[in-house]
């Protein structure tokens, strides 16, 4: 277990370093700043006597409970090689349970901190109840992990997901109303104890269902790697390609009468591949939301500039995407056509982003000198990035 976990942690650290590169960290800092600022303003605007406030908070907390899965680190090969050692599995899984708790526990603590100001503003909840809330969240999460392990044994019936969700919700909600708190906490602890007993009983009498457990772990890792893959190349994880017939018209329209074979290739590769088109869409949508919620015009301008640069920068690897295919080296076309095609594609994508952000600025801040300055700056940066930065960066 220790060795498996060490390799796993090393691997994750390696990828996380790549994910949190300079640009991304910079973007996140700005994003958190903007969100924090908006949140602080929003709290001031909230009417503390609103009846819906606590129900909404309880639902947010319930949703946040689903983050973080049980990491068993089981591999497909384990179902062959560890089969004779199944009797030692309970202690392995116990260690996995402990290890898996770190992430959701920290996450839940963060969420609790995040909702604390809103909760305290109602003045119906004393600060100490936040501790009870966090403890309840942790107890519920632990119970879910324990129940999850039970599910991975043969002969266990399907769980009544709906019923348990309701119970969890009631427990979370009990922490938001003074007077129910202690009872909720006790029940949550009792349920965890009962679930642990169940787990021990199942593990003593039933056989482990390797197939389900391994495929659960596979899909968990798959999700994580797909996330990493947005930022860097994960070996062995091919980004999917989708036919997307509905885009054929758009492709025709965008590539009509353009004789550049690389543009033909880049355009289709971008629109049908999920990797870069997904990244582009996400960044543009997040960017739009950030711009919409930035309340100061120069903050919106700065964030917009950052986003335009970020989108362009994150799309740079598209240029080398086909270098592995030797036919791209055999085509009887001039070396410059590839760069021209790439510039053409990136310029179109960045231009669409600029138009969207500019429209948002106009709607949010109205047509005035400041908005015009922002729009001109967006256009200038986008054009400069594609015309001057791109060629220099790519031919280096």
């Amino acid at each position: 277990m220790a060795r498996t976990r060490a390799t796993h942690v090393n691997q994750q650290v390696k990828y996380l370093r790549l994910v949190f590169n300079d640009h991304f960290v910079l973007a996140i800092i700005f994003l958190l700043g903007a969100l924090g600022y908006t949140y602080a303003n929003a709290i001031k605007a909230i009417d503390p006597t609103s009846w819906w406030l606590k129900p909404v908070i309880s639902l947010v907390l319930l949703a946040s409970l689903s983050f973080g899965r049980l990491a068993t680190l089981l591999h497909e090969a384990d179902s062959v090689f560890l089969l004779p050692q199944e009797s030692q599995l309970p202690s392995y899984l116990k260690a996995a349970q402990r290890y898996s708790m770190w992430l959701p526990f920290s996450w839940l603590a963060m969420i609790t901190l995040l909702v604390a100001p809103t909760l305290l503003v109602t003045k119906t909840v004393p600060a100490w109840m936040l501790l009870g809330l966090l403890a309840t969240l942790w107890l519920i999460k632990s119970r879910r992990f324990s129940s999850q392990i039970g599910q991975w044994y043969q002969g266990t019936g399907t769980q009544q997901t709906g019923l348990w969700l309701l119970i969890d919700w009631v427990l979370v909600a009990s922490q938001l109303w003074l007077g129910w708190s202690i009872a909720g906490l006790v029940i949550a602890a009792g349920l965890l104890y009962w679930q642990r007993q169940q787990q021990t009983k199942i593990q003593a009498t039933q056989l482990f269902n390797w197939l389900t457990a391994v495929s659960a772990e596979d899909s968990r890792m798959g999700r994580i790697y797909r996330l990493y893959n947005l930022f860097t190349d994960v070996p062995g994880l091919n980004s999917q390609v989708k036919r997307r017939r509905y885009l054929d018209g758009l492709i025709q329209w965008l590539s009509a009468n353009n004789p550049n074979p690389f543009y033909f290739l880049y355009l289709r590769g971008f629109l049908r591949g999920t990797e870069f088109s997904g990244l582009y869409l996400r960044l543009v949508i997040i960017g739009g939301i950030i711009i919409w919620f930035s309340q100061i015009w120069w903050l919106a301008l700065l964030l917009g500039l950052l986003l335009i640069y970020l989108v362009g920068f994150q799309l740079l690897p598209v240029y080398q995407q086909y270098d592995q295919n030797i036919f791209t080296h055999l085509y009887p076309v001039a070396q410059t056509t590839k760069l021209q095609a790439f510039k053409r594609l990136i310029w179109r994508l960045v231009a669409i982003e600029i138009i969207l952000l500019s429209l948002l600025i106009l709607i949010r801040f109205g047509l005035n000198g400041q908005s015009l300055v922002s729009i001109v700056a967006f256009g200038g940066l986008g054009y400069g990035f594609v015309q001057f930065y791109l060629p220099r960066r790519l031919t280096k």
């Binding site: 004789p259 074979p261 033909f264 030797i326 036919f327 085509y331 009887p332 076309v333």
Partner: protein, 242 residues
């Protein structure tokens, strides 16, 4: 005239794999490039298509070298790789469109040829599919159609028969014969010696990066002093020489 390789020394990095390799592939001829794994067949082909730069020696196609006029050189050459190489995001039709665009071929005329080839290989109903998901043999057929619909002067075919069904092998040999009759030169590397003996006009025997012998089967028999040998026997004899 066609392909002429003179005293080619080359390979990856600084260690030469090929030493002083010279041979020609004349028009209207199929030349078989024969040798063991690691003898230098693939390296020779990589030099011819221009993925590697010669350390010494010259390669000319119709009198033009890759260095003097890269576009004209590449325009006149079509290549079928050993393992099919395809774009995951392009349909079969788009692969052919891309080739037409990149080689600046006449779309109408080329599509007539392409459709004929597609029909022959029973791919004509799969134009809108992604060929990366095809079986090995079908992907190989896509590469063949892609190369043979062009009007190249030189066709380079790397190990063309593996993965093809017998019918497709037969079709490919017919297509090669057609191109040859139209005046093209064909360089074909293969391990299937029986087929090579039957369909190639002459042979280049590579051994440890050097040309051991070149010529027709009759000339090889004289060279190896094996009067009633077939290509198989000569090949084994060559490997024994070490």
């Amino acid at each position: 005239m066609s392909l002429e390789i003179k005293q080619l020394t080359g390979g990856y990095a600084h260690v030469p794999v090929l030493k002083d390799v010279s041979f020609t592939v004349p028009d209207q001829q199929v030349v078989g490039l024969i040798g063991l794994n690691g003898a230098g067949k693939s390296t020779t082909i990589k030099h011819v298509i221009g993925l590697l730069t010669p350390q010494a020696g010259t390669i000319t196609l119709n009198g033009v070298t890759l260095q003097s006029n890269p576009n004209q050189y590449r325009q006149k050459m079509a290549y079928v790789p050993e393992t099919p190489i395809l774009y995951p995001e392009l349909t079969l039709k788009e692969h052919l469109d891309l080739t037409i665009m990149a080689y600046q071929l006449d779309p109408e005329k080329t599509w007539v040829k392409a459709n004929q080839l597609l029909k022959q290989f029973r791919l004509d109903n799969k134009l809108d599919w992604f060929p990366v998901h095809f079986s090995k043999g079908m992907r190989q057929k896509v590469m063949i159609v892609n190369a043979f619909m062009t009007d190249a002067d030189l066709f380079i075919i790397d190990e063309p028969f593996t993965g093809l069904d017998p019918l497709a092998i037969h079709d490919l040999l017919d297509i090669i014969a057609d191109k040859k009759a139209q005046g093209a030169a064909i360089l074909m590397s293969t391990h299937i010696l029986a087929t090579a003996q039957q369909y190639a006009d002459s042979f280049v025997l590579l051994n440890q990066g050097r040309v051991r012998a070149t010529g027709t089967l009759a000339e090889l028999k004289t060279e190896f002093k094996m009067a009633d040998a077939n290509l198989d026997d000569i090949y084994l004899q060559m490997t024994k020489e070490g």
